[in-house]
């Protein structure tokens, strides 16, 4: 039962990364890919009706994590106190900038929100990557099941780690580049003209960085977290996950050359899914590895009561069927490239 919930939470997080990933990426390239007000409104229109729903996956995944693994929620959220609060601030700034930018047209109003939107999206991508890096590297949990990490200590991988060290920063940069690629491909697909071609070029350029960092970080990860290599050698079927990532990454460049915009975006989805599932497979059965392996939180010692988990399965499946229905409806009514007319302000 706990393994089922481990997989379900992982799926929710993956869906979050795929969906909110493209609107975070679109935000990160906002200032570079779009220069004029009309171009910028094209980017905003390409995520406008969906970004809020995408972000709900973060909340729903968080809620599900809370319900299925309360000890993990408690330990992880209080241990990552500072970066999580900063993520909240960035989410507030970002949400406000998307919602309020188009209320007023003025030479001081739009650029202010454009800058905030771009900056907060960019930092969020780095923070989420660094968070993932922390989970893989392990945190200084002790016998009480709690820890507290300062933002940084000495940037090394010792016993007293901070949120940021050279490894987690590297993962953060990879996350940013991967989401720039992902968001660039989305914007290329959903917009037209100059914005579309600039976004495509940015995606193509970040592809090289993604390739280089994926290879480097994979090599380092086997040393930082031995469990990953152990899991892949004891259960070789798990190699499908990294293969999916490699295939997706190859697909991106292949489809970009063929100018097939939707397929390039789908390939990027495959890459992100492959990367995330590889990580999840690599750390299982741990949900939060400790620097001292004795104190790691696992699916068994962090789970909620069995009755609750069983009954949760009933409403969760029902809720997900409904949510899938809503999303199909929304994305279908939002199909095709966006059109922005000159005076759609207000």
């Amino acid at each position: 039962m706990e393994t089922v919930w481990f997989c379900l939470v992982a799926i929710m997080i993956a869906v979050y990364v795929l969906l909110d990933g493209f609107d975070l990426g679109a935000g990160a390239i906002h200032l570079l890919a779009a220069k004029t007000d009309q171009e910028r409104r094209q980017i905003l229109a390409s995520i406008g009706p969906v970004w809020d729903g995408n972000e709900v996956w973060l909340l729903a995944a968080g809620g599900t994590l809370y319900f299925a693994f309360p000890a993990l929620y408690a330990s992880g959220f209080s241990g990552f106190y500072l970066p999580l609060m900063m993520v909240l601030w960035l989410l507030i700034l970002r949400g406000s900038s998307i919602e309020f930018r188009n209320h007023i047209q003025s030479a001081v109003w739009d650029p202010f929100w454009d800058f905030l939107f771009c900056g907060s999206s960019l930092l969020l991508a780095v923070f989420f990557g660094a968070a993932l890096g922390n989970v893989v590297r392990g945190v200084p949990l002790d016998a009480s099941g709690y820890f507290f990490e300062p933002l940084w200590t000495n940037f090394r991988l010792g016993e007293e780690t901070g949120i940021l060290d050279w490894y987690t920063i590297l993962v953060g940069v990879l996350a940013l580049l991967a989401l720039v690629m992902h968001g660039g491909l989305w914007v290329q697909m959903k917009t037209s003209g100059e914005v579309s071609s600039r976004a495509g070029k940015l995606a193509g350029r970040s592809w090289w960085g993604v390739l280089a960092l994926t290879a480097t970080i994979t090599g380092i990860t086997f040393r930082v977290q031995p469990q990953v290599l152990a899991n892949f050698s004891t259960r070789p079927w798990g190699l499908v996950f990294p293969l999916l990532a490699v295939g997706g990454l190859a697909g991106v460049v292949f489809e970009l050359r063929k100018r097939s915009e939707p397929r390039a975006f789908l390939a990027s989805c495959a890459y992100l899914t492959g990367m995330l599932t590889s990580v999840v497979f690599g750390v299982y059965p741990m949900v939060l590895p400790a620097r001292n392996p004795l104190y790691s939180l696992t699916v068994t010692n962090a789970k909620a009561g069995n009755y609750g988990l069983k009954i949760g399965l009933v409403w969760w499946v029902l809720g997900m069927i409904l949510a899938a229905g809503y999303f199909t409806l929304v994305y279908r009514s939002f199909a095709g490239k966006v059109a922005v007319d000159k005076d759609s302000h207000g």
Partner: protein
């Protein structure tokens, strides 16, 4: 009491109080929007659709602020109240996860369609989107109230060997009697905020002699729905809540009422200042026997005072609790008086011409916000010193590793950010009200006109 504990408590109190300014309006307005859309559908009168579009814009701004200030609430269970989350997550994680899965997806999907899809959805389709937004926001309210109700009156759980709580009855948690009544009381409060805001904007238009046909619709809708809500707020929902507190949280009742000694035929204090040191109410203005009657329906019934309970079980902020409760009840009484008087004038056909009453409706607009806040303060301060009533004390629930300095850092950050959001909110709402409901009216959409 440790210093970190106080900061963590204030952290949650501050962020939740600011957050709830927005959902109380959107939940109330969601109902009124369904009402306006239903009128439009039933009468075929485009006037109601234009009225709904105006309120949808106000709704949209408030909804966005409700979302961005709401996300921190879910996070704070883990970040600031980790020990509580570890102990109780197996139970209240259910309701919080269900809120995400059942309400947030529904709301976020259909709000976009409601705000931007009127043309493509058609008349019935657009009504449905309004209804689903209403359903989503009211479901969300239920899951949150059910979570709080479990902390007030735990049900449907059992203790695990390690001291954590786990779910033992799904329906026991979801249909907790406390949750049903608290929900009814809370939603009526939200409806009153929506009604007072709508009536105030209508009164403003009538008093300034602009958009008067909309002004009449807004005042009429606000007063009609608001009168019903104000009455139901007192009876039965407020009355039952009072009794549930009397039976289940007797020390809380005594503190709310400022009753230090047990009394037969206990009086109801209208005014007075509780002095906890000397254990008495200073300058009391009391109505004899009424508290006994309201609580037990017997004029001479015995009501327990605080002295019957060990001081360690007293709520730790008795004066604040006492004032919150009295402000809530006092304002609730004023709302009934205002709404009933306005309804009578409306019935006689004189409301739109009665400048005095319109003035009162307009300046009452902050009061329901204060009343709703005071109501929640009564519930949450009244639950003290317990985090989960009778099971876990507030001091035991805090995150063990998050120091006071870190909590201060983020509290100050939230204060700064929310100050900016508050200014932004007032500015954007002011602009919408100034532009008014008429399409193309009063210089839509440019800052130049607003600043000249």
């Amino acid at each position: 009491m440790g210093q970190a504990l106080d900061v963590h408590r204030f952290h949650f109190a501050f962020t939740i109080t600011f957050h709830y300014l927005f959902p109380q309006l959107t939940m109330g307005l969601a109902l009124l929007l369904v009402y306006l859309k239903t009128k439009a559908l039933a009468t075929g009168d485009e006037h109601y659709n234009r009225a709904a579009r105006f309120w949808a814009r106000i709704f949209g701004i408030n909804f966005a602020l409700g979302v961005v200030t709401g996300i921190p609430m879910e996070f704070q269970f883990g970040t600031n109240w980790a020990a509580f989350s570890k102990a109780a997550g197996g139970v209240i994680g259910q309701t919080l996860a269900m809120e995400g899965v059942f309400s947030f997806f529904l709301e976020s999907s259909f709000l976009g369609l409601f705000l931007f899809g009127e043309k493509s959805l058609g008349r019935v389709g657009h009504w449905c989107s309004a209804f689903l937004v209403f359903l989503g926001s009211w479901l969300s309210g239920y899951f949150i109230v059910a979570t709080d109700a479990w902390m007030q009156h735990p049900a449907g759980y059992r203790l695990r060997p390690g001291g954590e709580m786990e779910l033992s009855s799904f329906w026991g948690l979801l249909l907790n009697k406390w949750a049903l009544w608290q929900y009814a009381h809370n939603m009526l409060g939200a409806v009153q905020t929506g009604c007072f805001v709508m009536a105030a904007v209508g009164a403003f238009y009538l008093l300034t002699k602009r958009d008067e046909n909309y002004g009449r619709t807004f005042v009429r809708t606000g007063v009609l729905v608001g009168t019903i809500a104000a009455l139901l707020q007192l009876f039965p929902t407020g009355d039952v809540q009072g009794k549930m507190i009397a039976y289940n949280q007797p020390a809380t009742l005594a503190a709310m009422e400022g009753l230090f000694e047990s009394q037969q035929g206990a009086p109801l204090a209208i005014l007075g200042q509780p002095d906890v040191e000397k254990r008495r109410l200073d300058n009391p203005l009391e109505v004899p026997n009424v508290l006994s009657f309201l609580t037990y329906r017997e004029w001479r019934a015995d009501v327990k005072g605080l002295s019957e309970f060990p001081e360690t079980d007293w709520p730790d902020q008795i004066p604040l609790l006492y004032y919150s409760y009295h402000v809530m009840v006092g304002l609730g009484t004023i709302f009934i008086a205002v709404m009933v008087a306005a309804a009578i004038l409306l019935w006689r056909g004189r409301l739109y011409l009665s400048r005095g009453m319109l003035w009162i409706l307009m300046i009452c607009v902050p009061l329901p916000y204060i009343a709703n806040t005071a109501g929640w303060m009564t519930a949450e301060l009244g639950r003290q010193p317990w985090l989960i009533y009778g099971l876990m004390r507030t001091a035991e629930g805090v995150s063990p590793r998050v120091a006071a300095g870190n909590a201060w850092f983020t509290l100050i950050g939230f204060m700064g950010m929310y100050a900016v959001l508050a200014v932004l909110w007032l500015f954007l709402i002011y602009r919408e009200i100034r532009q008014g409901p008429e399409p193309g009216g009063n210089g839509r959409g440019d800052l130049a006109a607003a600043t000249v």
